[in-house]
Structures are given as structure tokens and as C-alpha cells.
């Protein structure tokens, strides 16, 4: 490996400028990505703290740790923070921000100042939510269903709604920036079929952000207007239909789960390709399946409402359409698996996370079929079965993908390697802890334990204890990377420009990259994932 002195002399985005001001006023997409990484990590651990409180309360059937009202505020805080301030932005805003311009060979995103604005909006929304949580909290659940949220809740719905609204605009601007960048700023020679699958995934995600987020934004505005000014759009007493809220809300919030999972799927494509040293099997199908998920994702929202009092005909339509979204997801899993065939596979930490993703997403996806099936959904909806299902997709899928990506691109982002041994241990601990936490919840759900209960009949206790025990292990699995990644910033091995000997434009620039990403605008005269052109053994620099 190179001597530690070398990157110090090289100008890169981290040492180009110094001081807090140079960070808070930066328009460099890489610095903004780092800002996001820090703030999102904080929000993740805030959300995780609430998860811990939930699991502690559920250790016993009685409501002994908290009052009912406190518990309701705790799970709402967990949901709001995790959904709006962690899951939705995490991969696009951190990895996407850092990598999209580099992967398309651009100097920056199309609108760098809007990108910075996105981060500020995210922070304003986030701080507002923290403020709400610290000064009374909100008890509606992250779904804000009226008429509870509009007329009955005595908590701070308006501020929380406003916070989600502001965070929504952060997300809209990120999506807008990505689409324009991918369309307009690709390097010469970089055709659509030469784009990494991560870019395809980010593109599909951005489409959803653009189309879906404004709908939930106006829905939250209407809730706020009803609460503050008596404009009773959802008020049954005025002839309003509370189900209208649910339709508008899920029109965004179902596709929003694809906002969360698609970017992670993009990460997994990169990881599996890099550590199998192979072009992704069925590149075009994987790329188009991202777009298909984005489009079909908008046709299925009302499967959240099969018992909500919806029309039977509409339930039929939505159940039928929901199955179609399973197809592109299945295509991805099969193609990733097939990529390993005749590969040359190694098992570094990012690859372990990719395996974890495959394992957990498979279960998460398959249990989604249960919820699409009308007869079964009636029984399991609003129970812990649903909770388990979406945690398998959201936590098992999104977080595994994010952590895999963070480890993979850590040398590029920071110029340092993470400690491989601890990385592998953490990946393993996380996987085991995760399954122990959430698998029992499938059984709990089928037994009939409803969501959002802080006390429950005693026969559910054993499974709840298992779940809480698992959550402890899972917590360790998440704390470990925090510790050793911070450690590596100072003591980690200095990374070469391409430590994985991986394909992709991001590995052709220095680690960390210079402010404008490339010293010379790259000309792309090679196919994507061109592992046949790369030498087998990493070249020492």
C-alpha cells in the first residue's frame, strides 16, 4: 500500500477548504453527501432509541414502563423519524448525492445550490420534528389518519405535519436534481445502456419522488388546514370521506417504500457485480425492472385499505395489480443470484451485506404476497405481520443495502479503509439480530396481535421477549459500524484509488475525489461493468 503521506498532498474535496463555513455553505455534492451522512446517522440513532423503548415496553404484557399516551408518542416518533428522516433520504441523499455526478462523469449535480437547499430543508424539518418530540410529541402514528389527527388528537399534529411537508420538499428537490443530472450531464460516450444500475435505480426513485411527494404534501396541508382553520375536507360530519385521506396518503406512501428500497437495490447491483467480478446478469432487465417498479408502484396503493371500508371492486383491482409489482422485484433477485454463476466471488464486508440483503429481501418480498392476497390480508393487516413484513423490507433491505454501500464506498468517501474483520462481524451480528427481532413478529401477527398496542394478552409474551432480545443484538450490530467507521477515519489503512479493483467511473478518480470529481472530463468508450478489461489481482499503487 501507498504511504500515508500521499493523499495528504493531493488536493481533494475534503481538504480543498477548511472551517465550518466551508461546509455549511458548500455546494459540492460530495460535501453535501457528508453533511447528510452525519445528520441522517443522528436521526437513525434517535429513531433507534425510540425502537428500543418500544421493545422494552413490550417485554411484558402489562403497560408498565410507560403510560399509554407516552407509548403512542414513542411509536409515532419512531415512525416519523425513521420514515421521513431516515429511510426516504438515506440512500439517495448520502450515496446518491455522492455518487450520481461521479458515476455519470459530471463535475456536480445540475443544481448545486438547490442541492444545498435540500439539506437545509431536511434539517429544518428534522429539527422541527425533534422539537415536537421534545415538547409534547405527537400521537397519531406516522400515518396521520383523520379524523383522529384532525379532530381528536391532543398532540402537535400541525408542527409534525409541517415537518414532514418540509422534508418532502427536500426529497422533491433531490429527485429533481438527479433526473436533470442523469439526463443532461452524462459524460461523452456514456449512453443509457452504459449507466451503472445504481444510476438506473436512482433515476426510478427520483421519478417517484417527483410524482408522489407533492400529493402527500397537499394531503398534509389539508390535514393542517382542517385542524387549524376548520376546512373539513376529510370531516365525515361535513360529508367528507376519511378514506379520501387514505387514498391520497397511500398514493405517495406506498410508492415511498420504493423510494426507500430501489436505491438500495441499486447498491446491491453494484456490490454483487464488483465482488463476483462480473457484468450483472440480464443488465437490461435489472435496469428496466427499476423503472417498472416505479411505474407499477403507483397502481397498487389501496392494498393498504382492504379492510378500510373500500369498495369490493376497487379492492379486487388493487389486489390484482399489486401482484404485478412482485414480478420486477423477483426479476432482480433472480438476476443477482444468476450473476454469481461462473463468477470469481470474494467475501468482503460489502458482499456479506449484499447476501444479507438478498436473504432478508426475499423473505420481505414473499410476505408481501400474503398482504396482496385479499383473504389473508383481512386477517393480518394492522397486525404484527405487517410490522414484520415492512421491517424485513425496510430494515432488512434498505439498511443492509445502505451499510453495504457505505462500506464499499467508504474508501472513496473518506480515503480510508474500514477494518475488515470488524466489518464482517458486524454484518453477521446484524443479520442474526435482525431475524431474531422480526421473525417472531410474523407469528405474532398471524396469532392476531394488533399493531400499536402497548399492552397485550399474556399468551403473546414469549414471542415478544424473543423479539426484544433480538433487538438488543441488532442494536449492537448497528453500533459496531458506527464505532469502527469513526475509528477508521483516523486509524484506518489509507485507501488506494480503486481498492476493490472495481469497474465504474467512481473508481477511476482519486480517493477521495477532487472537488470537481475528475481532473479531466472522462470519455466513456467502454461498456458498464467491464470486468473483462480489469486485471484479476488488485494492482498495488
Amino acid at each position: 500500500m501507498a504511504t500515508a503521506a500521499l493523499p495528504q498532498e493531493r488536493k481533494n474535496y475534503l481538504n480543498a477548504e477548511h472551517g465550518l463555513r466551508s461546509w455549511l455553505l458548500t455546494t459540492d455534492h460530495k460535501r453535501i453527501a457528508v453533511l447528510y451522512m452525519i445528520s441522517i446517522t443522528v436521526f437513525f440513532f434517535v429513531g433507534a432509541l425510540y425502537a428500543l423503548l418500544i421493545r422494552l415496553e413490550l417485554l411484558t404484557p402489562a403497560g408498565d414502563l410507560m403510560q399509554a399516551d407516552s407509548y403512542n408518542r414513542v411509536f409515532t416518533a419512531h415512525g416519523v423519524v425513521m420514515v421521513f428522516f431516515f429511510l426516504i433520504p438515506v440512500v439517495p441523499a448520502v450515496l446518491g448525492n455522492f455518487l450520481v455526478p461521479i458515476m455519470v462523469g459530471a463535475k456536480d449535480l445540475a443544481f448545486p445550490r438547490i442541492n444545498l437547499l435540500s439539506w437545509y430543508l431536511y434539517m429544518i424539518g428534522g429539527l422541527l420534528v425533534i422539537h415536537v418530540v421534545l415538547t409534547g410529541g405527537i400521537d397519531t402514528g406516522w400515518t396521520f389518519y383523520p379524523p383522529f389527527s384532525t379532530q381528536f388528537s391532543n398532540s402537535r399534529v400541525i408542527e409534525a405535519g409541517l415537518a414532514a411537508f418540509i422534508a418532502g420538499f427536500s426529497s422533491i428537490f433531490t429527485g429533481l436534481n438527479f433526473i436533470v443530472t442523469i439526463h443532461r450531464m452524462r459524460a461523452p460516450g456514456l449512453t443509457w445502456t452504459r449507466l451503472p444500475l445504481f444510476i438506473w435505480a436512482q433515476y426510478a426513485t427520483s421519478v417517484i419522488m417527483i410524482l408522489g411527494t407533492p400529493v402527500v404534501a397537499i394531503t398534509l396541508v389539508l390535514v393542517i388546514l382542517e385542524r387549524a382553520l376548520h376546512l373539513g375536507i376529510f370531516d365525515p360530519k361535513l360529508g367528507g370521506d376519511p378514506l379520501l385521506f387514505q387514498h391520497l396518503f397511500w398514493f405517495y406512501s406506498h410508492p415511498a417504500v420504493y423510494i426507500m428500497i430501489l436505491p438500495s437495490m441499486g447498491v446491491i447491483s453494484e456490490l454483487i457485480s464488483a465482488f463476483s467480478r462480473k457484468r450483472i446478469f440480464g443488465y437490461k432487465f435489472v435496469a428496466l425492472s427499476s423503472i417498472a417498479i416505479a411505474v407499477i408502484g403507483f397502481l397498487v396503493w389501496a392494498h393498504h385499505m382492504f379492510v378500510a371500508g373500500m369498495s369490493v371492486y376497487a379492492a379486487l383491482i388493487f389486489s390484482f395489480l399489486t401482484f404485478f409489482v412482485g414480478v420486477p422485484s423477483a426479476i432482480k433477485v433472480f438476476n443477482w443470484t444468476a450473476t454469481m454463476y461462473k463468477g470469481s466471488i470474494t467475501f468482503e464486508t460489502p458482499m456479506l451485506y449484499a447476501f444479507g440483503f438478498l436473504g432478508l429481501f426475499t423473505i420481505g418480498g414473499l410476505t408481501g404476497l400474503f398482504l396482496a392476497t385479499l383473504g389473508v390480508d383481512v386477517h393480518v393487516t394492522d397486525t404484527y405481520f405487517v410490522v414484520a413484513h415492512f421491517h424485513y423490507v425496510m430494515v432488512g433491505g434498505v439498511v443492509m443495502g445502505y451499510l453495504g454501500g457505505i462500506h464499499f464506498w467508504w474508501p472513496k468517501i473518506t480515503g480510508r479503509m474500514y477494518p475488515e474483520f470488524w466489518g464482517k462481524v458486524a454484518a453477521l451480528v446484524g443479520f442474526i439480530g435482525f431475524n431474531l427481532t422480526f421473525f417472531p413478529q410474523f407469528i405474532l401477527g398471524y396469532l392476531g396481535m394488533p399493531r400499536r398496542y402497548y399492552q397485550y394478552p399474556p399468551e403473546f409474551q414469549v414471542l415478544n421477549i424473543l423479539s426484544t432480545a433480538g433487538a438488543t443484538i441488532l442494536g449492537v450490530g448497528y453500533l459496531m459500524p458506527l464505532v469502527y467507521l469513526l475509528w477508521s477515519l483516523r486509524y484506518g489503512e489509507v485507501a488506494s484509488d480503486n481498492p476493490w479493483n472495481a469497474a465504474g467511473l467512481e473508481w477511476k478518480t482519486t480517493s477521495p475525489p477532487p472537488t470537481f470529481n475528475f481532473d479531466e472530463t472522462p470519455v466513456v468508450d467502454f461498456e458498464v461493468y467491464n470486468y473483462e478489461d480489469l486485471k484479476e489481482i488488485p494492482v498495488e499503487r
Binding site: Y145, A338, L366, L369, L374, V376
Partner: protein, 327 residues
Amino acid sequence: MGSIPIWPQQASNFAPGTDALYLFLVVVSLVMTVLIYTAIIVLASKYRRKPGVHPVQIEGSHVLEITWSVLPMFFFFAFFAWGAWIYFKERTPPQHANEIYVVAKQWMWKIQHPEGVREINELHVPLGANVKLIMTSQDVIHSFFIPAFRIKQDVLPGRYTIMWFRATEPGTYHLFCAEYCGTLHSGMIGSIIVQHPAEYQTWLNGGSSNAPLAQTGEKLFAELGCVSCHRADATGRGPILNGVFGKQVALEDGRTVLADENYIRESILDPGAKVVVGYKPVMPTFQGLITEEQLSALVAYVKTLSPSRPGQPAVAPGTSAPRGKNE
């Protein structure tokens, strides 16, 4: 504490079917999971990096892509069709059923039997009889969930939602509110008590001395002055209500609607919304003037005016005499 439970009790006509479909899904998912996990483990160990062995670049395979896109679809269609079939049955109450009115409020379930007995957070039902619940909420959205019956239906303010079941096992089962409804959401629980018909009858007789629901409705119908316009002959200013329930009604604006529970409800609360053809919109609204319980009674009464339609309790033989036009 004890052994880990993995299967809920089966106590309704819907439970076996739902469980069978669930098992089918579990088996298919298990097979898929095992296949994918095996493939990953086998491929990962077989093609782990070895000196001198180079990866083979493969573009993909259209045959494989189409196979693994289309093959799952057959399973998906099977899940869909089977699930839809169960859902249809759940959403189609039988003609003959014990009709029980449920009013939910933060945080209790108020139940009115047609015989006049009222319960809170408890629902007694006879074994083997069809029971239809006509449910509404006074405040926020709740959800009536009986895990042992495998059924659940949200209960909404401002309208009725319907669910039905036939209990198949005597016993006491959990009733949960499954839609988050505020502070004591997890306290909004109760019991479904399934009794043998004879026992049930004894329980009914030992219940309160309230008049049957439809009778209460009839009294209200007179007290509120409904009867002065809605007469049994064509002399009234309002439409004749006899024989209306369950029929298609032609409206002033050319539409027709089915006269179901929600239509009667709406006609009382918002009479101008769907005016029957040939009548003037002169009826005042009763929104805010009567309670949900009174509304239930009125609806129950109007239903008894359509005797050809079996809206009366038709519980298992020997449990209850047919009521209705016995006044």
C-alpha cells in the same frame, strides 16, 4: 408463559379457508426461500475466487428472464383468485342473519342486539348462526378484529360498514380494535362469547328489559314525527317506506340506488342528497339531533317494514321467535 403458540384458534366459518390459503402461501414462500438460499450458498461456494480461474462474462438470457417473470405469475394469479374468493364470501352477508348493531367510540364497543339486549365490549353470539354486524363509529376510525374468526373490518364515522361470520366453536375469543384510535387503543379490547343456542337463549332472556331494537325504532319514528309524512299509504308527503329496504330506488335526478343500511342512514341525516323520484326535498335533516344508537334503532325499524326481505333474526332453530310485524 409456556410453549410458544404458533397458530390461532379456528372458530368461524372463515378460519379454515383463510388458514388453508395461508398455509399454501407459506409453503410456496418456503420453497422459494429455500431455492434462493440454496442457489446463493451453492454458487457462492462453487465460484469463490480461486487462483487461475477467471470469471466468465455472461450477458444474460432472454429465455431465463421470461421464464422467471412468467412462472411466478401463475402462482400470483392463484393467490389472487383464491384470496378474492374468500374476500367475496366475507363481504357478502347471507340473507338470513342475526343483525347486530355495533357503535364504536373511544375506547369501547357498544353492542345492540335486535332483541333489545345491550352489551359493552362483549358480544354474545349463538353457535352456528349467521351473524351480521352493522357497525359505525361515533368519533374516529376503529377496526373490529376477531383473530379466531380471521376477520376484520374498519369501523368508520359517518357510515355503516358491514361484516358477518358464523361461529363454529363455542368459547371466548379476543376482540381487538385493530385501527389505531388514540390513547387507550390497546385497551379497546373485548370478548366474543360463542354459546350453544340454548345457552345463548338463556343469556338473552336474562339480559336487560329493553324493548327490541325495532320497537325502540318504531317509538322514535313516532316521536320524531317521521310518521306524519312517511305513511303506509300514498297520502304522506314522504315516500312510503314499506317494502323499500333491499330494493332499487329511483331518484329525482335519474339515478337509482340500492336501499341498504347506508342509504337509510343517509336519508335520515342528509335527506336532500338522494331524493326519491316524485317527492319534494322537504324533509329536515336529523344530523346532530339523534345519537348513533337511535339511528340504529330507526334503521332496524325501517328494515322491519320490508317483511319479504329477511332482515329479522334467523338464528338457529328454537332460539328466537321471528319478530317484526307482531305489533
